[in-house]
C-alpha cells in the first residue's frame, strides 16, 4: 500500500492538529495539555477578542422567565390599578374585562426606594442593585414568536440568537467549555441557534435535574443521582483518555478529508469543533458540576437542599460557576409564568422557588467581585394584562411589561421607563426588545450597528434596522 502521497499521514499528532486549522480546539489535548493563554490559537474564531470599545460587562447571565411573567404583580407598581380594582374597561376589544389589582402588596426597598411586590422579598433586598426596565414592549403576544424575538430579534425569520452574536463579537475565555451555555432551554433550538453564523457560535444546551418544562413542572431527565447529571455522557467507560484522543484524531482526519472531498458541507467545521469541545469538556465539566467545594453556607444561601428552591438554586449556582470559569453567556430558563388561571397560587409557588436563588446569585457575584462586570438579566417574552382573565388569571400582554438588569455597569436602584396608569401599555422611555438587544451589546462593548455579519450579500445585525441604546440606564 502506498502511503507516501497521503496527505493525512503525518508523523505526530501535533503536526496533524496543526493541519486542522479551524477553531482553537485543535491545539488542545485537553486533559493532556494544560490550559494556558500561550497555547490558545490567535486565529481561533472563539478566542477572546476585543469589542468595539471598552464595555462595562464582560459576561452575561440571562434568567429567562418563560411564559410571560406578570409585571403588575412583581416589579411594576400600579396604585391606580389597586384603586380601580374590579372596574370594567369600557371600550375596545377588551371591553367588559375587569381590572384586577395585584393580590400581592408592593413595598419600597433599599436606599433607592424601588417598589417591589412581596413575591420577591429576597430579591427586594438587592433593590439597590436592580435596574428595572418598566417600559418594555415587543412585537407579538404569542409565546413561541415572542420568545423567539426576545432571543433572536425576529419572530418570523431564522436569525442568530443573542448569545451567538455575543460569542461572535467577543469570543470566549475558557476553551474547555462552551462559550454559550443554556441550562434547560424552554423552547425551540432556534432560541440558542446560530442561524447563518457558523455553527460553533451555537449555544450548548445542558439539562439539569428538576429542570423545568414549559408548564413549569419539574421533570427529571437523564441521570438523577450524581451531581454530574447536568451534562449527560461526560465520561467514557471503555477507553483511556489517550486512547479516546487517538480515536478523535482519526475522526477529525476523516472530517478534514470530507471537507476536502465534499466541497460545500459548511457544517464540517461545526462538527469538528463540537468534538474538540466535547473532549475538553470531559476534563473540565465534572469538576465544575461538583459542588463539593462550595461551603454549606453558600449551598444554603442558594436554597440548595430546601425542596422549594433546590432545583433553581442549583441552576443559579451552576450559572455562577460557569461564569466564573469563563463562559461568556449563560442562560437559565424556568417556565410556569403563563398564568391564565390560578394566578395567586401558581405565581406564589413559582416565585418562592426562584426568589431566594436569584438573590443569592446577586449576593454571591457581588462578594466575589464579579457583579460589576457580569450583566444579570431577568425577564420573559412579554408581560400580562392588568385586567383579569376569569377571576384569577391574566392574559398575554406584549405592549408593556418589565424586565430588569443588574451588575455589568447598569445603574442600580434605578427604574427606567413607564407603563400607563394600569400597566397596559408602555408610554414613557419605551424599550422595544430591539432596544434591549442594542443596550445589552453596548454594555458588552459592542456597537449593535457595527456588529454585522455578511450573508447572502447583505450585512445582517441583531437589531436589523432598529435598536436604540438606553444610555440612561448605564451607570
Amino acid at each position: 500500500m502506498d502511503c507516501c502521497n497521503n496527505r493525512l499521514i503525518v508523523h505526530n499528532r501535533r503536526d496533524m492538529l496543526r493541519t486542522l486549522s479551524a477553531g482553537f480546539g485543535y491545539l488542545a489535548f485537553a486533559g493532556l495539555a494544560a490550559r494556558t493563554s500561550a497555547q490558545q490559537s490567535t486565529t481561533s474564531p472563539l478566542a477572546p477578542k476585543a469589542g468595539h470599545f471598552a464595555g462595562s460587562a464582560k459576561r452575561v447571565i440571562f434568567l429567562c422567565m418563560d411564559g410571560g411573567p406578570s409585571h403588575v404583580d412583581t416589579f411594576d407598581y400600579k396604585p391606580q390599578l389597586i384603586a380601580d380594582n374590579g372596574k370594567s374597561l369600557s371600550s375596545g376589544f377588551r371591553s367588559g374585562a375587569k381590572l384586577l389589582a395585584s393580590p400581592w402588596k408592593f413595598r419600597q426597598h433599599g436606599k433607592s426606594g424601588l417598589w417591589i411586590s412581596d413575591l420577591f422579598p429576597e430579591v427586594a433586598k438587592q433593590a439597590d442593585e436592580l435596574c428595572l426596565l418598566r417600559g418594555m414592549h415587543t412585537g407579538v403576544p404569542a409565546h413561541a414568536q415572542a420568545a423567539l424575538q426576545m432571543h433572536t430579534g425576529s419572530f418570523q425569520f431564522v436569525r442568530p440568537s443573542l448569545g451567538a452574536w455575543t460569542l461572535y463579537g467577543l469570543g470566549t475565555t475558557n476553551e474547555n467549555l462552551p462559550g454559550f451555555v443554556t441550562l434547560n432551554p424552554a423552547r425551540s433550538a432556534q432560541g440558542y441557534g446560530s442561524a447563518f453564523l457558523p455553527a460553533y457560535y451555537q449555544g450548548s444546551p445542558m439539562r439539569m435535574r428538576g429542570g423545568n418544562n414549559r408548564r413549569g413542572q419539574g421533570q427529571q431527565r437523564g441521570r438523577t443521582d450524581s451531581q454530574s447529571e447536568a451534562v449527560a455522557n461526560i465520561e467514557n467507560s471503555v477507553y483511556t483518555t489517550a486512547g479516546q484522543r487517538e480515536q478523535l484524531d482519526l475522526v477529525q482526519a476523516l472530517n478534514k478529508e470530507r471537507d476536502r472531498r465534499a466541497r460545500g458541507d459548511t457544517n464540517v467545521d461545526g462538527v469538528i469543533e463540537s468534538y474538540e469541545l466535547a473532549f475538553r469538556m470531559q476534563a473540565e465539566v465534572p469538576e465544575l458540576l461538583d459542588f463539593a467545594g462550595e461551603n454549606a453556607k453558600t449551598l444554603a444561601m442558594y436554597g440548595i437542599g430546601t425542596a422549594a428552591t433546590d432545583s433553581f438554586g442549583r441552576q443559579c449556582l451552576l450559572a455562577r460557576r460557569l461564569s466564573e470559569a469563563g463562559v461568556r453567556f449563560v442562560e437559565i430558563s424556568v417556565g410556569g409564568f403563563d398564568t391564565h388561571r390560578n394566578l395567586k397560587a401558581e405565581l406564589d409557588t413559582k416565585c418562592q422557588s426562584i426568589d431566594q436563588p436569584i438573590a443569592a446569585l446577586l449576593t454571591d457575584l457581588k462578594q466575589r467581585g464579579m457583579l460589576k462586570d457580569t450583566l444579570v438579566l431577568w425577564g420573559g417574552e412579554f408581560g400580562r394584562t392588568p385586567y383579569a382573565q376569569g377571576t384569577d388569571g391574566r392574559d398575554h400582554n406584549n405592549k408593556g411589561f418589565t424586565m430588569w438588569a443588574a451588575g455589568g455597569g447598569v445603574r442600580g436602584g434605578f427604574s427606567y421607563g413607564e407603563t400607563d396608569d394600569y400597566g397596559v401599555e408602555a408610554v414613557n422611555d419605551k424599550m422595544h426588545i430591539h432596544d434591549w438587544h442594542a443596550t445589552i451589546l453596548h454594555l458588552l462593548g459592542l456597537d449593535h450597528e457595527r456588529l454585522t455579519y455578511n450573508y447572502a450579500g447583505r450585512d445582517f445585525r441583531l437589531t436589523e434596522v432598529y435598536g436604540k441604546v438606553a444610555n440612561q440606564i448605564i451607570a
Binding site: 377588551r94 403576544p141 441557534g193 437523564g222 483511556t240 479516546q244 480515536q247 392574559d395 394600569y422 447572502a456
Partner: protein, 830 residues
C-alpha cells in the same frame, strides 16, 4: 374645506396607512436588503443624507429630498425612485456604482405599486395588528387598515382572500427555458427558470453512489448496502435510476420513514405529557396505521378523511372498519392535562388541541390562535374557531386511561372487533417476573400502610394515591397472561366516535365560564365557494373531512406537496411548512408549488407518484458541492442550483448504526413497549424501567413518551411531540458529540460492528474497506486508508496503559468502528 385640502388629507391618510403583513414581508425580503446594501450609506441617518434624502423611514422617504418626492404611491412609472434605478434620467442614476439587476428593479416597481409598505419606525412589524387586543387603553393606530380583522370584527374578506395560499390553485404553463436539454421534466423547467432569474446556474450531477445514498436515506431512512451500491454503480442501463426508486418505494421501510414524517406533524406520542404525563398504552395502533398507509400509498385525501372521520365512512369489511377506527387516533393522541380541574375546562382544552393539530398539519393554518380573540394575523375570526369547536364538541374522544391521582377524566377506549387486529406486545419472562415482584412488594407495603392508616398514622390522601398506583400496575399486568402473551383485553384503540350534535358557544376571552352566543357548526369563512359543505346532522366531522379534502380547497394539496418537497430537499418551497398564513413565508417557486399540487390531485393524491416524480428529476440529481459564484448569490440554495446538504435525523443515524453493525431488526415489533404502562409516568420510575431501549428494531418503533423521549432522538433535535412539527431543527452541538463518544448503546453498537468485521474471513485492510462501505456506501480514499492504519498503531500504544480486561485489538476495532459513526459524513446527506 376646499377641495385641495380635502384631497391632501386623503393623500396624507393614505400615506400614513398601516401596511399589511404581506406587504411588509415583501419589504423585508426584497426591498430592505437592497436598501441596506445599496442605499443607506448615502441616504440614512447613519449615512450621509445626500441630496437631503433619507430612505430609512417611510415618512422621510415619502417626503423626498432636494428634488422633491421620489415615490408616487401606486405609480412606479411616475416615481423618480424607479426612474433613477432604471438609469432613465441622466441626472438621477442610482446607485451610482451601477444599475441593479432587472429582478430587483421589478421588485421595487411592485413595491411602489403596492403602496411602498414599510414598517413603522418603532420596528413593530405587526404593530397595527396588535392594536385590537390592547385597544382598552384607547391608543389607536389606524385599525381600519389592520391586516385582516378590525377591532369591531369587520373583515375585508376580499382583501383577506388575496393571500397567496388562499387563492385557488392555478395551473401555469411550463416555462420555455433555454437550457440546452438540462431539464428532464416540468419540475426542472420551473426550477431552471428560477435559477436564471436569480443569476445562479446548476452544478454538475452527483456521483451515482452519492445519489444512491441520498435517495435511499430519503425514501427508506436507511443507507444502501454495499451490494446495492456495487450493483447500481455497475448498472449502465437507462432505467437504472427508475428501478432504484421503484424498489425503494415498494420497500416496507418506506412507510417507516415517511410515516415518521407524518407522526411529527400529528404530534404523536404514547403519553399525555403536561403536568402528570399519563401513559397511552394503545397509541401505537395509530402509529402503525400511519406507517401502513404510506406503504400502501393510501390516497392522501383518503388518509386525511380516515383520520378525521374514519368511524363515519363506509368500510368493505370488519378489517377495514378496524383500520378506519384506529385512524381517528389522530384526534386522540394529543397532549392533555389530565389533572385539569373542571370538565368544561378539560373539554375546551382538548378541543383546542384537536383544532390546532388539524389546522397546522392539514391546512398549514394556526387556527387555534383564534380561541380567545380574532386571529391576530390571519382572517380567522373567533367565531370561526367556535364553528369548528362545535364539531369536536359533538364528537366523543376516546383515549382510555384510568382514574388516579392526577387523572380526573379517564374515558372509554374504542373496542375493536375480535380477529381484526393484533393484540400487540409480548412481555419477556423477565419483564413478567419484574412486574409480578413489583406488584407483590407494593401490595405488601400497601397492606402495612393500611394497618397504620387504621391507627390514623397515615395520610388518607396518600393512601388513596398508593392504592390507585397499585391499581394501575395491576391493570397493566392484567393485559398479559403469565407467559407474557397479550390477552384480548388489548383489543382497544384510541380515537373518536360520534357524540350528540350541538353547536358551541363563543367563549369570551376563551374563558369557559364566559359562554356567549352559540355558533352554527361550520368552517372558516375565508375559504368560500359552492364546494363548502353544510353540516346538517351529526358532529360534522364527515363534512370537515370533505371540506379539507375537496380538490377546491387551496391549502390541503399545497401543504401536502410542500411537506414532501421539504423532506427531499431539506427545505420546502414554503420554508414554514406548518404555517401558510400571513406570518409564514411565501413560496420561492409559487408556480411550481401549484403545478405539483394540481398534478398531485389529478394523480389521485398519490404520495408515491409525487415522490417518484421529484426524485427522478434533474433537480434532485444535482451534486451538493458548492460553486463560488452561485454560493455568493444564494448560499442557502433557495434556487436549488445544488442539492442542499442535510443533517440526518436521530432515527436515521441510529438506524444506520444498527445497519452497519448488522444488528438492525427490520421486522416490526408487536405493539409497543409502552403497552405495559398505565397511569402517570415518572422518568426513572417503575414504569419506565419496563422499557428496554436496547432492542434493535427501527427507531420509529421506540416508545415516544412525552418528556421522556429517547436520548438518541432528543439530542438530535427530535421535536417536542406535544406540538405539530413539520420542520425539525438541525443543530450541531457538543452534547451530540458527547453522546456519540460515550453513550453505552453507541459503544455497544460499535462493538457489534467490530465483531461483525472480525468474524469475516478478510485481511485487516479489507476489513477497513468493508467498514467504509457499510458506513458510507463507498471505498476509503487512500489517505483515509492511511489514517485508519495509523490509528490502529497509535491507539494500541495509547491504550497499553489501560486497566481494561478486554484485548486491545478488540477495543481498537470497536474504537475504529465508532469513529465512523462519529464523522460528519455519517450524519450528513449529500
Amino acid at each position: 374645506m376646499d377641495i385641495a385640502l380635502c384631497l391632501l388629507s386623503i393623500a396624507l391618510a393614505q400615506s400614513a396607512k398601516v401596511p399589511d403583513a404581506e406587504g411588509l414581508k415583501f419589504f423585508e425580503e426584497k426591498i430592505k436588503p437592497v436598501l441596506a446594501r445599496s442605499c443607506f450609506k448615502c441616504h440614512s441617518a447613519d449615512g450621509k443624507v445626500r441630496g437631503g434624502l433619507r430612505l430609512d423611514t417611510r415618512e422621510l422617504m415619502l417626503e423626498g429630498g432636494a428634488s422633491g418626492p421620489i415615490v408616487i404611491l401606486g405609480k412606479p412609472k411616475e416615481s423618480l425612485l424607479i426612474r433613477a434605478l432604471k438609469y432613465q434620467d441622466p441626472d438621477y442614476q442610482m446607485p451610482p456604482s451601477g444599475p441593479l439587476s432587472g429582478t430587483i428593479i421589478k421588485d421595487f416597481e411592485k413595491w411602489v405599486e403596492m403602496g411602498a409598505p414599510y414598517p413603522s419606525a418603532e420596528g413593530e412589524m405587526m404593530g397595527a395588528a396588535m392594536e385590537p387586543m390592547m385597544g382598552s387603553s384607547g391608543s389607536v393606530v389606524d385599525v381600519a387598515d389592520a391586516p385582516n380583522i378590525r377591532d369591531d370584527g369587520f373583515v375585508d374578506w376580499e382583501k383577506a382572500r388575496q393571500h397567496w395560499s388562499l387563492i385557488p390553485m392555478k395551473s401555469h404553463p411550463t416555462p420555455a427555458v433555454q437550457d440546452e436539454g438540462w431539464s428532464w421534466c416540468d419540475i426542472d423547467r420551473f426550477v431552471f427558470e428560477g435559477m436564471v432569474e436569480n443569476g445562479v446556474a446548476p452544478v454538475a450531477d452527483a456521483e451515482k453512489s452519492v445519489w444512491l445514498r441520498r435517495v435511499t436515506f430519503d425514501l427508506i431512512g436507511l443507507p444502501p448496502t454495499p451490494e446495492e451500491v456495487i450493483a447500481f454503480t455497475r448498472d449502465r442501463s437507462p432505467t437504472a435510476f427508475d428501478r432504484v426508486v421503484d424498489r425503494l418505494l415498494a420497500s416496507s421501510a418506506f412507510g417507516e420513514r415517511w410515516g415518521r414524517h407524518w407522526l411529527d406533524v400529528a404530534r404523536f406520542a404514547e403519553s399525555s405529557g403536561k403536568e402528570v404525563n399519563i401513559a397511552y398504552p394503545y397509541a401505537w395502533r395509530y402509529r402503525n396505521y400511519v406507517i401502513d398507509a404510506f406503504n400502501n400509498d393510501k390516497p392522501y385525501n383518503q388518509f386525511l378523511r380516515e383520520q378525521l372521520a374514519g368511524d363515519l365512512i363506509p368500510s368493505k369489511d370488519l378489517n377495514e372498519r378496524t383500520e378506519h377506527l384506529i385512524a381517528t387516533g389522530f384526534l386522540a393522541v394529543g397532549a392533555k392535562g389530565h389533572n385539569t380541574r373542571g370538565r368544561s375546562q378539560f373539554t375546551a382544552d382538548t378541543i383546542d388541541e384537536q383544532i390546532d393539530a388539524v389546522g397546522q398539519s392539514m391546512l398549514g393554518l394556526t387556527i387555534a390562535c383564534a380561541r380567545c380573540h380574532d386571529h391576530k394575523f390571519d382572517p380567522i375570526p373567533q367565531r370561526d374557531y367556535y364553528a369548528l369547536a362545535g364539531i369536536f364538541l359533538s364528537s366523543k374522544i376516546c383515549y382510555g386511561t384510568e382514574q388516579s391521582a392526577g387523572n380526573n377524566f379517564p374515558s372509554e377506549y374504542i373496542n375493536l372487533p375480535v380477529g381484526t387486529a393484533a393484540n400487540g406486545a409480548k412481555l419477556s419472562p423477565d419483564q413478567i417476573q419484574m412486574a409480578d415482584v413489583t406488584i407483590t412488594r407494593f401490595a405488601e407495603q400497601l397492606a402495612a400502610l393500611e394497618v397504620r392508616a387504621e391507627k390514623g398514622e397515615v395520610d388518607r390522601g396518600n393512601l388513596r394515591n398508593q392504592r390507585q398506583f397499585l391499581g394501575s400496575l395491576e391493570s397493566a399486568r392484567a393485559r398479559f397472561d403469565d407467559a407474557g402473551n397479550p390477552t384480548d383485553a388489548n383489543l382497544v384503540a384510541m380515537g373518536v366516535l360520534e357524540g350528540s350534535g350541538r353547536n358551541a358557544p363563543i367563549l369570551k376571552r376563551g374563558e369557559v365560564n364566559q359562554a356567549g352566543e352559540t355558533v352554527v357548526r361550520g368552517f372558516p369563512q375565508v375559504l368560500e365557494g359552492d364546494w363548502v359543505p353544510t353540516i346538517r346532522t351529526g358532529s360534522g366531522r364527515k363534512e370537515l373531512a370533505q371540506w379539507i379534502t375537496d380538490p377546491m380547497n387551496p391549502l390541503t394539496a399545497r401543504v401536502a406537496v410542500n411537506r414532501v418537497w421539504g423532506h427531499l430537499f431539506g427545505k420546502g418551497l414554503v420554508s414554514t411548512p406548518d404555517n401558510f398564513g400571513v406570518t409564514g413565508m411565501t413560496p420561492t417557486h409559487p408556480e411550481l408549488l401549484d403545478s405539483l399540487a394540481l398534478s398531485f390531485i389529478e394523480r389521485g393524491w398519490s404520495v408515491k407518484s409525487l415522490i417518484r416524480e421529484i426524485t427522478l428529476s434533474h433537480t434532485y440529481r444535482l451534486s451538493s458541492k458548492t460553486e463560488s459564484r452561485s454560493m455568493k448569490m444564494d448560499p442557502d440554495a433557495l434556487w436549488l442550483w445544488r442539492m442542499p446538504q442535510r443533517r440526518l435525523e436521530g432515527e436515521a443515524i441510529r438506524d444506520a448504526m444498527l445497519m452497519a453493525s448488522g444488528e438492525l431488526s427490520r421486522s416490526r415489533p408487536d405493539g409497543s413497549q409502552a403497552q405495559s404502562l398505565e397511569g402517570p409516568i415518572r422518568n426513572g420510575g417503575v414504569m419506565t424501567r419496563l422499557i428496554d431501549s436496547t432492542v434493535p428494531y427501527r427507531s420509529v418503533y421506540m416508545p415516544i413518551l412525552r418528556d421522556v423521549v429517547p436520548e438518541m432522538l432528543e439530542v438530535f433535535d427530535f421535536c417536542d411531540p406535544s406540538l405539530p412539527c413539520g420542520d425539525r431543527a438541525e443543530t450541531t452541538v457538543a452534547s451530540q458529540a458527547l453522546f456519540l463518544m460515550n453513550d453505552a448503546q453507541v459503544i455497544a453498537s460499535a462493538e457489534a460492528f467490530a465483531d461483525r468485521l472480525m468474524a469475516m474471513d478478510l485481511k485487516d485492510l479489507e476489513r477497513i474497506e468493508y467498514a467504509f462501505q457499510l458506513a458510507f456506501g463507498r471505498d476509503p480514499t487512500s489517505s483515509e486508508r492511511g489514517a485508519s492504519r495509523k490509528f490502529f498503531d497509535d491507539f494500541s500504544k495509547a491504550e497499553s496503559a489501560s486497566q481494561s480486561n478486554s484485548p486491545i485489538r478488540e477495543r481498537a476495532w470497536t474504537a475504529f468502528c465508532q469513529s465512523l459513526y462519529l464523522t460528519a459524513e455519517f450524519r450528513t446527506l449529500d
